[in-house]
């Protein structure tokens, strides 16, 4: 599935719940759904406040399922990240004045199994994250 929405902060909750709902076909627990929601939420918030710096832009969010894994991409065509290595470091934030915690990427990495960041200054950023949903074994 592919979703395109304006980069408004009120769309953040719609995006996270839509992706979570799509992922629910893998039959996750509520806890796994919450992990996915948190990761999407962090990525979408980053696109809105860092990528577009609260100016209007489009968010491109896609999700697909392969075997037991959901793959989610969150893309913006905003300002991009200068130093991806540094951005991934816990507590690093380029906007301390906004009381950002600098923990967004760290949270995403903790809640998802794999995280890739592609970014180019002036062109935008794409985050790809994957999570394997472990099927409930004790059933039947």
């Amino acid at each position: 599935m592919e979703l395109k929405i304006p980069s408004l902060s009120k769309n953040e909750s719609f995006a996270r719940v839509t992706i979570a709902s799509f992922a629910s076909q893998l039959d996750p627990t509520v806890e796994e759904i919450n992990d996915i929601k948190t990761a999407v939420s962090e990525a979408v918030t980053n696109a809105i406040i860092h990528g577009y710096e609260n100016e209007m832009g489009e968010l491109y969010i896609s999700a697909k399922i392969t075997a037991n894994t959901v793959e989610i991409k969150v893309k913006d065509t905003g300002r991009g990240i200068e130093d991806v290595e540094k951005a991934r470091e816990p507590l690093f934030t380029s906007k301390p004045e906004l009381e950002r915690s600098g923990m967004g990427f760290t949270i995403i990495e903790n809640f998802m199994d794999e995280v890739e960041i592609l970014s180019k200054t002036g062109s935008g950023t794409q985050i790809t994250m994957r999570k394997k949903i472990v099927p409930s074994t004790t059933e039947k």
Partner: protein, 77 residues
């Protein structure tokens, strides 16, 4: 009384926001119940089955009672 109730119902129909919250609280009750019964966390589909709604509905309803996803503080301690 019946008349008043009918009046209130007809003139104050249930909003989706309210009904989503009701579904969400029921979903949480079912989640607790199934966790106790099976000794593990139920899946979203198991909760949906018990409530006789689609699993997507469960996901959307639960989001309606979720505090804004909080950055950092509640997660790391």
């Amino acid at each position: 009384i019946g008349e008043i109730r009918r009046y209130l119902r007809d003139n104050n129909p249930i909003r989706v926001s309210r009904s989503l919250r009701d579904i969400a609280y029921k979903a949480l009750q079912v989640r607790d119940k199934l966790t106790n019964e099976n000794d593990r966390e139920p899946t979203v589909s198991e909760i949906a089955l018990e409530l006789d709604i689609k699993r997507e509905e469960v996901v959307f309803a639960l989001d309606a009672i979720q505090e804004p996803v909080s950055l950092f503080e509640p997660i790391y301690h």
